[in-house]
Symmetry: C2
Subunit: 701 residues, 2 copies
């Protein structure tokens, strides 16, 4: 350790050159960039086609190697359990999407089979998802509102709703927006843009799903109370809907309300019981299915009025998406694509981490994209994956995508055999199922408390995401929330902590002097440190803080500069006069004058000598990048202090920072790279060597 050399940046470069150290090509092999990802995607042609095709259809890779004896029974039981869950969830979420329940069953069938072929996650249960369904619902209700389907009633004054054509239109809209979102996912997957999901930070996703759950609940209140409020869309529609609901509370259908309350209480109680019984029974009790069956029977007995219209055929042929509608739903489809992918990949990653395999984010995008785009052709609505179903799939022994395929078969049997039995199911029961399923998302409100304790900025992101998503709708709210969470990066670096560093006695470690009493500043040398990158949003503050900490007033510094200037001019005049008078001694005098000028410019001024340090070292190690404002700021600092006779050194610059300075013409003949140092200590030693012996002794005794 003792022999270690402290070398400034330039010397070190020279040393490296002498040692035959060449700088390797500009671009590192390791650099992971979007460009390379794209190249990798493009490379997927030619000789590597076969392996590429296999990675595009993961089924071909894993199915031949399927360990039948080990996994088959687990997958079968798990598949049936999940299939049984799909039934009530699919029907209930169809209500959210504002389409007839049977389309929820379609959505629990086609997309799952496609994901089985293309998906890479073994444990997530793709299918209907509350948040996606409510997003679809906002599109269908906006583009096909009830008011468009009023037909003259029996007597001339009244009109009645044409439910059949309204539902047909809504199914078309839901299928089209689903198709489009699938295409978006497919495109994002093909250009390997899976990383877009990184903008969905965890606090954002959790707040967003909570806000979406609030939207879901508000949209279902009408079914629980049996009222018929006006539909609203656009920003603040949630507020308007609540106001409308409250205004209509007087018209509550008591029967419906009783059914709702009884169902909710029953469901909660049954869930608690099944949680208690979970230790003894390995397979969860299909509480929702039982509820639906009971409700259907009761409803059939009591002849409760419902609005259901069963489509004539159970399985329909694929239909082309409504091209004319595409333009009006681009934004919604993109939001669906991003949210659906975001939810699926984050759940997929959790299970992949737990069970030690890898989920390919781009392949997931392709799998979901195909599920949605093909599903859209079969009148499905957009799917993602559901936390509750995935938990059941795993806990009942599901070990691969086969469980998903079996659950799809369960849905197929139900569709073909007993689907029409559920025709009589009251919407209040489905709404109750939805509420109870959203428990988990409501529990996420606890995040506020834990984030308050751990990270306040992230708490603000959480709260703002909730507010923005509740006030605007899920699509606009997502965009606004992402924009806000990106803004926080600026907030976090805009008000950095500035500090003066001092030496920890006897070491080469430099720490902020205000943090430790014994850390001492080095006489004559000021080491300035900012906790954040220097860029346009905090450049001015950086200079202000530096001036304040160095105890220098800009005005003072500059008046000093002016004085020097005036002095210089006087000297020059004097020199010129002398030169005129003594023509023969001209050459000699001019040299002297020039020397005087040099001395005045470089030497510290006697007026400011007591306050100004001899050297300032800027610790730039936290600087991530330099923009033009940053380069200009450093240049001004160097120039201003230089004119006042204070030398400025920079240390800890990353290579990218040095490159930005080079490109920004920071360096020239006068300002060379000799002012750059690898570490604070190097710079300090260099300063001390340059100064008188006394200073060095002063600090090192």
């Amino acid at each position: 350790i003792a022999e270690m050399k402290r070398v400034p940046y330039h010397i070190q470069r020279d040393v490296l050159d002498e040692l035959g150290v060449d700088q390797v090509a500009e671009k590192s092999d390791f650099k992971i960039s979007a460009k390379e990802k794209f190249r990798e995607a493009v490379r997927c042609t030619g000789p590597r086609f076969k392996s590429c095709f296999l990675s595009f259809v993961p089924l071909l890779t894993w199915l031949p190697r399927y360990p039948f004896r080990e996994n088959a029974i687990g997958d079968l039981i798990s598949g049936i359990s999940v299939g049984i869950m799909h039934l009530p969830q699919g029907m209930a979420y169809a209500l959210l999407a504002a389409v007839p329940p049977v389309f929820g069953l379609y959505s629990s069938f086609y997309p799952i089979l496609i994901y089985f072929i293309f998906g890479t996650s073994k444990h997530i249960s793709v299918g209907t998802y509350a948040v996606m369904s409510v997003m679809i619902g906002s599109v269908t209700e906006r583009l096909a509102p009830d008011s468009d389907f009023m037909i003259p009633g029996n007597d001339t004054n009244s009109t009645s709703l044409d439910i059949v054509s309204r539902d047909a239109e809504r199914v078309k809209i839901a299928a089209t927006v689903t198709f489009l979102s699938g295409i978006f996912q497919l495109l994002l997957g093909l250009v390997r843009f899976g990383f877009v999901v990184t903008y969905l930070s965890e606090p954002l996703v959790r707040a967003y799903t909570t806000a979406a759950a609030i939207h879901v609940i508000v949209s279902q209140l009408k079914y629980s109370f049996g009222i018929n409020p006006q539909r609203y869309s656009g920003p603040l529609s949630l507020i308007y809907t609540i106001i409308e609901d409250c205004a209509l509370l007087g018209q509550t259908n008591i029967g419906t309300l009783v059914v709702s309350i009884v169902t909710i209480i029953g469901l909660v109680a049954a869930k608690e019981l099944s949680a208690l019984a979970a230790r003894k029974i390995p397979i969860p009790i299909p509480v929702e299915l039982i509820t639906i069956i009971i409700a259907t029977v009761v409803s059939w007995q009591m002849d409760l009025k419902t609005e259901y219209v069963q489509p004539t055929t159970i399985l329909q042929a694929p239909v082309a998406p409504a091209v004319s509608l595409l333009g009006s739903m681009v934004g919604d489809a993109f939001a669906l694509a991003v949210v659906g992918y975001g939810i699926a990949i984050s759940l997929g990653r959790i299970f992949a981490l737990k069970y030690a395999y890898k989920v390919d984010s781009n392949q997931e995008l392709i799998a979901l994209g195909l599920s949605n785009s093909i599903g859209g052709l079969f009148n499905c609505f957009a799917i993602s994956c559901s936390m509750s179903r995935s938990m059941v799939q795993v806990s009942t022994g599901g070990k691969s995508q086969v469980a998903g395929a079996i659950s799809a078969l369960v849905i197929l049997v139900i569709l073909l055999k007993i689907g029409e039995l559920f025709e009589e199911l009251p919407k209040a029961v489905l709404a109750a199922i939805i509420y109870v399923n959203l428990q988990g998302m409501m529990k996420q409100f606890g995040d506020i408390r834990s984030l308050w304790r751990t990270n306040k900025v992230d708490m603000v992101v959480w709260v703002m995401t909730l507010i923005l998503t509740v006030l605007f709708n899920p699509d606009m709210g997502l965009a606004a929330s992402i924009a806000f969470s990106i803004l926080t990066v600026v907030f976090r670096t805009q008000l950095p902590k500035y500090s003066i560093l001092g030496q920890v006695p006897g070491t080469d470690i430099y720490k902020p002097v205000e943090d430790y009493n014994q850390v001492k500043e080095i006489p004559g040398i000021m080491i300035f440190h900012s906790s954040a990158t220097l860029y346009f949003a905090n450049a001015e503050m950086y200079i202000d803080a530096l001036y304040e900490k160095t105890g220098v007033d800009v005005a003072k510094l500059l008046s000093h500069k002016k004085k020097l200037e005036a002095k210089r001019l006087r000297k020059e005049k004097k020199a010129a006069k002398k030169a005129k008078k003594e023509a023969k001694k001209r050459a000699k005098e001019a040299v002297k004058a020039a020397e005087d000028v040099g001395a005045v410019e470089v030497g510290p001024d006697p007026d400011t000598d007591t306050t100004l340090p001899q050297a300032i070292i800027l610790d730039l190690s936290p600087v991530n990048f330099l923009d033009t404002v940053g380069v200009k700021t450093l240049r001004n600092i160097y120039k201003d202090y230089g004119e006042a006779g204070v030398q400025v050194y920079f240390c800890g610059c990353q290579r990218g920072v040095v490159e930005s300075m080079e490109k920004g013409d920071f360096f020239n003949e006068k300002v060379t790279k000799s002012i750059l140092f690898s570490s604070v200590h190097d710079a300090v030693l260099y300063c001390q060597q340059g100064n008188s012996e006394e200073v060095i002794q002063g600090t090192h005794l």
Copy 2:
């Protein structure tokens, strides 16, 4: 130097404690925060009231000390020169604001007098400004379009424009939006929010003014060609206006076009000549004034048709702003407030730096706010400061705000004595004056080339600002541009450069191994460095890059973990069996089993021993802050590698980063702060001490 100790973070803390080093209070005195700025503002009451009042009215401070003999003549000459410039600019920019020219003269009078009292910059020439005027114009033309003022003509089919009432309405609108923008500036100044201007980075301001100049030029084309296109407002209005102008080119008034071309050529030629003559004549030739006088005379002689309506009184009493209009112009007024302040403060700072005095950004906000709000009451439109006039003010010897006051007096004389003479001035001439004045802003297109060379991201900001401001209007464009420039901070840190650091031989300096051939990795220790802050947008990439560089597959790591898990379970079973069999030796065996478990968990696995490093050091010095995603990422890295028997150390953490880790529950009984080190070298030495003697010798021989 030789005795310097390398100590890990925790040891160092202990040492500091022993030395009696207490951590100083949490909040540093030096910390500059918005909170403190606010406090400072609040503190401005009570005993300090007098000095506070003086700082609120800078005139009271500097006027009594005005060095009459030194400054008076310079200020007088400069004031007259600037006043002469105010006249044509005020009239021309009134055209941009879509109000009669005399209101441009008002705007060159009242606000300047008020700034004289409250302003702190000695050299800027406040008054009408092209960009502000065109922003006002977009408001007036949106809220009072020509179509609202059509009155039935003489014959029943035709309608004619009621110019008098249209202009009266437009003046009212312009005055109201000016008043409101002044109130915004005043409020921002009172709460000391002068720092908002930091979001206006230099590339953004330059591109924005260029884009505004394009808006100005397009809005004036109709006067140069003598055509009457339809007015457009809102996004893309510039494009529509150009299309409309092109369609109407056939109707060009040849006389007007000739006047335009002659004026432009004349102005450019005269400016070139005056630039050439500048060395001989100290005062610039008032080219524009001469042009206006000539044009007025010619127009009066040739009886060119104009639309001017002179208000009945020259100086009007103040009028209350139109409160009913306030709601519809909040956004425009805010944009005006920000832009006006941004331009004024940036010019003010340039001169302050040059002439060594200080411009108080909050006092500037107050001064501009009062100028605009009081000006608005006197039917002025919003002012800022003009580069060209300021340059003239300085070059003709202006030394203080007195020059501004004199220029206002010049305008007053013109208003009272000869204002009505300019009644006949054709708009084509004013348009020509505007074009020629915008030369400088058009030259800013050269920025693209220089930014391309120096900083590509800033070039993208420039181009995007131009496009956004041209496509949307200046108000929306400003918001979009600021949002985009903030986004670039994320772009810049989202794709960091990841590298493995190695030791520069014989020193304690660590550099990326891919940059230098001779920099060698330390056997068994991997030092990982990211060029950017670790946060939600790049957390996943960080982990991926780390896994890639360490040559570890996540799956491999996790399957290894599972193996360990299985092993542990088997051992536990074995131990349990043994315990059952040999009941009397139970206590002893249990201890052994526990020891075995511990050994298996901690020790490196023989399978992966060859590929995995023994320790990983993460260099976190470029990390500015840690969000919850960042803390979680570090925790996962520590846990995953820890389970595979690889110890992870962090070094170079800033205090804020350590605090975020503490709050985020990163540390517990098992994970203590002993994994934190001050520098890479400290961590390396600690690792080597912990390992076998051979390794240390290997690296240090």
